[in-house]
């Protein structure tokens, strides 16, 4: 595939990492337009949506993995957003299966998704009132010791 053409249609950095892998780094505001151009370019399948918590830089990195069925190339689109009041735009109308990935993003990272009616609804967790659990500052051992009893152990091995 012609990488030059991809550079022309997307505002951002395009890098061919290896055969069948393209890394695309875009600005927060350009996510939807970049994904829109990629869809027109032939990236017709959404593989996953997730985020990485770069706590030292006070940023979340939102990651979209797309696949082009015709060109057999995986594109990894990444955008950094601030960690304070994180918000992104929904891509549900571009890729229908994005809905639950976005719901998961809100639940696990606290990233609000504008335009997704289900964002904020519980998906995998039930009655969760703590920090979003996949954030790096969520201490799972502290949570477990506060919420669950320690396992009863025998005094000796008889």
């Amino acid at each position: 595939m012609e990488i030059e053409r991809l550079n022309q249609v997307i505002r951002g950095t395009v890098e061919v990492k290896r055969k069948q892998r393209v890394d695309i780094i875009v600005d927060n505001a350009d996510i939807v337009s970049a994904l829109h151009s990629l869809k027109l370019f032939g990236f017709n399948q959404l593989t996953l949506v997730t985020a990485v918590d770069w706590i030292e830089e006070q940023q979340f990195e939102v990651v979209y993995v797309l696949y082009s069925n015709a060109q057999k190339v995986v594109a990894i689109v990444k955008a950094r957003i601030p960690r304070e009041n994180p918000e992104i735009e929904t891509i549900e109308d571009l890729y229908p299966n994005a809905n639950k990935y976005e719901v998961e993003l809100t639940e696990m990272f606290g990233i609000k998704v504008r335009g997704n009616p289900d964002s904020g609804k519980p998906f995998l967790l039930e009655n969760w009132h703590d920090l979003p659990p996949m954030r790096k500052d969520f201490d799972s051992i502290k949570y477990a010791t506060e919420h669950y009893e320690a396992r009863h152990r025998k005094e000796n091995n008889d």
Binding site: Q45, T47, V52, V63, Y67, P96, E126, P133, S140
Partner: protein, 367 residues
């Protein structure tokens, strides 16, 4: 006069393939709205892996999915090998292929057996398939020391070479299953009850499937020959000769028949791999577990599982533990939104067949 009402089916229901439930709104016995409810199996594998060393994670990851655990080991190893720039020995590639294909056959046997028994009441296939799968589990025990969670594929290759006589044993097993296939056909795939209940049921078109991110047998049943083994060959697949089976019907029947064809393909691939396998080392030495650092970067490793594309999005910050791992299960788009949309307008009694034909594996959704 019909009356609208709500009904929950699952998580403990024979028609539900695993630990999730469905919240249905019905009018008479026609489904008006279907909402999936997941989370019964959520164990936060991504978070658990962030707290463990690279070697410790090898023991953790197969536990994501019971039916087909080996794919997890393979993608984990492939992601680390990509980031570290490690090349694995030729013989290890073939051993990986044999394990992955045998695991795929096991997954199909188990899945088809459960589908036939739990949703259609055809218990004979389940008795046979689960029994025949058990012979391979015994072979896995002789190869890896474990029946279900093998922890055999690991970064750098595989743990050990094959035990003596293993090649003969696995070829015997392949021949045994191949001889059994006509019986399977007679008792299930040509059974008129199966045909009546699945032909024309819950049809998906090619465009719908592609737009929703559907992969694997569910996509192949609509006529798209998309398969990671062909599109981005890993392990020893580039050296093997095979064609991806496709069908054009896109209904529950075609999705089941595709699994039957895939089963046969996997058996052929095992035979080819065993015959072509070269001699040599099986492991590229990896660092001491306590000084094992993976260079900073990210990788997306993917394989073809029995359900479709299965992958890890893997991020390393250069430390001794993974920084972030996201598990991409094939079943996530098959449940949300595909199953929720397919169920609308169907009869309640067809719901188990639709869910069963999609082969949804809840642990891949919950993780």
């Amino acid at each position: 006069m019909t009356k609208e009402y709500e009904l929950n089916i699952g998580p403990n229901h024979p028609g539900i393939p695993g630990n999730f439930s469905l919240h249905l709104e019905l009018e008479g016995d026609t489904i008006v709205k279907a909402n999936g409810d997941s989370g019964y199996l959520h164990r936060a594998f991504g978070k658990l892996m962030e707290h463990r060393l690279y070697l410790q994670n090898v023991a953790l990851i197969p536990r994501i999915c019971v039916i087909e655990p080996d794919i997890n080991e393979a993608v984990y190893a492939m992601a680390i090998e990509e980031l570290m720039g490690v090349k694995i020995p030729e013989r290890a590639k073939y051993i990986r292929t044999i394990i992955l294909e045998a695991a795929r056959v096991n997954a199909y046997l188990f899945g088809l057996g459960i589908f036939a028994a739990a949703t259609l009441g055809l218990y004979t296939l389940m008795q046979w398939a689960v029994g025949d799968r058990d012979y391979m589990i015994d072979l896995f025990a002789s190869l890896t020391g474990a029946r279900i969670y093998h922890m055999f594929i690991w970064p750098g290759g595989v743990r050990r070479d094959l035990p003596p006589k293993f090649e003969e044993d696995i070829l015997d097993w392949v021949k045994f299953i191949k001889d059994k296939l006509p019986d399977y056909d007679a008792v299930f795939f040509k059974n008129s009850m199966f045909l009546h209940r699945t032909k024309g049921l819950a049809t998906i078109t090619k465009e719908e499937a592609l737009s929703m991110g559907v992969t694997g047998p569910n996509l192949k049943a609509t006529g798209v020959a998309q398969d990671v083994r062909k599109d981005e060959p890993y392990a020893a697949y580039p050296y093997l000769d095979f064609e991806i089976p496709t069908m054009t019907e896109g209904d529950a029947w075609a999705r089941t028949i595709i699994r039957r064809l895939e089963l046969e393909l996997s058996l052929n691939l095992i035979e080819q791999a065993v015959k072509k396998m070269p001699k040599g080392p099986v492991w590229t030495k990896m660092p001491n577990p306590f000084k094992w650092y993976v260079p900073r970067g990210d990788a997306y490793a993917r394989v073809e599982s029995s359900g479709g594309e299965y992958g890890f999005y893997f991020v390393s910050d250069g430390g001794a533990k993974p920084y972030r791992v996201y598990v991409r299960g094939a079943s996530m788009p098959h449940m949300y939104p595909l199953a929720e949309k397919l169920l609308i307008g169907q009869k309640l009694s067809d719901a188990p067949q639709i869910l069963g034909s999609l082969n949804i594996c809840p642990p891949e959704i919950d993780r």
